[in-house]
């Protein structure tokens, strides 16, 4: 019994990590209908940026991520403004092709710069600390922090979306880009700001990715798949749905692993397929699409 409860708890917390992977993807799709196939590689790129800041300045990974976040925001802004804005239009193919190419470039660039060795962000004793819940149950401080960060990130994004003037501009541009321009909104800048915000969330995702396990330049595409599944389970464009989607995949993986360790990854994909069959538009689809 305890073992199953433990699997449930671990699954929910692992879901926090997947939700962090997915939040940026969800945000970008929600605002500009851009499917960013390089999203997983951008998470890995961000993890290397945090790693470089950690080693160069001798900082704790949390502080390093704090420093890396504005850099990544600027990178996202420039990437969208200079490159990705040119791919947006009626045709959905150009953004897919360009972000697919970008994915290859990022992976190979990282291989050149950092080799294929796997790396890790070292956070010290906090990595192994845990809180006892009684009855033989315990949760790791790190997984708990991951989930808390995911919830905080989504709260912050919801605040930005629904309580600020920039958020209104994001939603208006998402609804009707042509009319948004008539409001004096420069769509290209709005999209660039959105990618900047997404890359800031990616910095947080990268921090926990790098502290949880080893990473190397080739693991991006698998992170993209988890992120995709979380976004689609949750319903395209819904941030709380994305968190729910992440948690469902996390739960499926840990429960699958409890049954048989070989089933871990498969169970997550099966859960995704089941949701896709039963609720093709996801659990929390947006009213307007």
């Amino acid at each position: 019994m305890t073992a199953w409860l433990d699997a449930l708890l671990q699954g929910i917390m692992l879901g926090g990590l997947y939700a962090l992977f997915a939040a940026g993807l969800s945000l970008i799709f929600g605002i500009m209908r851009l499917v960013n196939l390089a999203h997983g590689d951008l998470i890995v790129l961000a993890a290397f940026v945090v790693l470089v800041v950690t080693t160069a300045l001798g900082l704790d990974p949390f502080l390093a991520a704090l420093l890396a976040a504005p850099l990544l925001f600027a990178f996202g802004y420039a990437l969208q403004f200079i490159l990705l804005n040119r791919t947006l239009g009626r045709d959905i193919l150009p953004p897919l092709l360009v972000t697919f190419g970008l994915s290859i470039i990022v992976q190979n660039g990282l291989l050149e710069a950092f080799s294929a060795d796997s790396r890790r962000l070292r956070a010290g004793s906090i990595e192994t600390e845990s809180l006892s819940l009684g009855g033989g149950l315990a949760v790791g401080v790190m997984p708990l922090l991951t989930l808390a960060s995911a919830v905080l990130a989504i709260l912050a994004l919801n605040f930005l979306f629904y309580r600020t003037s920039l958020g209104r501009a994001f939603r208006a541009t998402s609804d009707d880009p042509e009319t948004a321009q008539l409001m004096g909104i420069d769509n290209k800048r709005i999209f660039a700001l959105a990618m900047g915000v997404a890359m800031t969330v990616v910095a947080v995702a990268a921090l926990y990715l790098g502290m949880r396990a080893n990473f190397d330049p080739t693991i991006g595409p698998a992170r993209l798949i988890y992120a995709f599944e979380a976004v689609i389970i949750g319903g395209l464009g819904s941030l709380w749905g994305t968190l729910a989607g992440g948690i469902i995949i996390g739960l499926a993986q840990t429960i699958g692993a409890r049954i048989d360790p070989e089933w871990q990854i498969l169970a997550g994909h099966v859960a995704f397929l089941i949701v896709l069959v039963l609720r093709p538009r996801g659990l929390f689809p947006r009213a307007v699409d």
């Binding site: 003037s165 998402s174 609804d175 008539l182 909104i185 420069d186 009213a287």
Partner: protein, 231 residues
């Protein structure tokens, strides 16, 4: 203030406007009438930058504005109430109004309070999503949204389309209050009677050309009929 000289516009290979010369002076209300497909809405799209126009064909205070992005043109003080209202469906009524003043310093005459005073029906529905409003209320919200930018020039595309006569009257009752702020108004209308009643001058479009121009009092029924339908 706003002037077009030889304005042409194309949808792909199809030419929709053939050299339109028109002008709108400070504080003036001008109506553009014409049948479906005469090029009225196209004219507004070309002025607001949604459709490309030849360099120098559209001028604001003598300076060419053709080729500027729609967002830039809006910020120069030209606001469009688009055909079909086009409220943002995921924004509430109040958010739709607020987005109209996006990125502008507060301080102009029009603000939420004054828009609600102009259209009290909106104040009651301020939290409602845009699409849940009646057609007339949506039109009021679209006009209010454009006013929130405190424009020098208000362009209105078919604001009476699909509305009941009593609702149209309510909406046109707001025109004097808008004019009182010195705002110039350019109305595109199929409803000739309504347009003639509020306009200082009228242009009639036919097949992408100006077929008639003048003051409503100086134009005869026959002239308008001929210019409208092409007799």
């Amino acid at each position: 203030m706003l002037e077009t000289r030889g304005l042409t516009a194309f949808y792909g290979d199809f030419q929709a406007l053939y050299g339109i010369d028109a002008a709108l002076a400070q504080g003036e209300t001008v109506a553009i009438i014409g049948a479906n497909g005469a090029g009225k809405s196209t004219f507004l799209k070309a002025v607001t930058g949604l459709l490309p126009s030849p360099p120098g064909a559209v001028r604001l205070d003598g300076a060419p504005i053709g080729g500027l992005a729609p967002a830039r043109i809006t910020r120069l003080g030209i606001s469009l109430v688009p055909e079909g209202r086009r409220l943002f469906p995921s924004l509430s009524v109040e958010e739709n109004l607020l987005i109209g003043g996006y990125g502008r310093a507060p301080g102009g005459y029009w603000n939420l309070e004054r828009v609600y005073a102009l259209f009290p029906a909106l104040a009651e529905r301020r939290r409602a999503p845009g699409p849940s409003l009646s057609g007339g209320q949506q039109q009021m919200a679209a006009i209010g949204r454009a006013l929130m930018a405190n424009p020098r020039i208000l362009l209105c595309d078919e604001i009476s389309l699909g509305l009941a006569p009593i609702v149209i009257r309510d909406i046109y009752n707001a025109v004097p209050a808008i004019k009182a702020q010195g705002t110039s108004i350019l109305l595109v209308e199929q409803d000739i009677v309504q347009a003639m009643a509020v306009a200082d001058r009228v242009y009639c479009f036919q097949e992408g050309r100006v077929s008639l121009a003048g003051r409503p009092s100086e134009l005869t029924r026959e002239q308008i009929h001929a210019a409208y339908f092409g007799a």
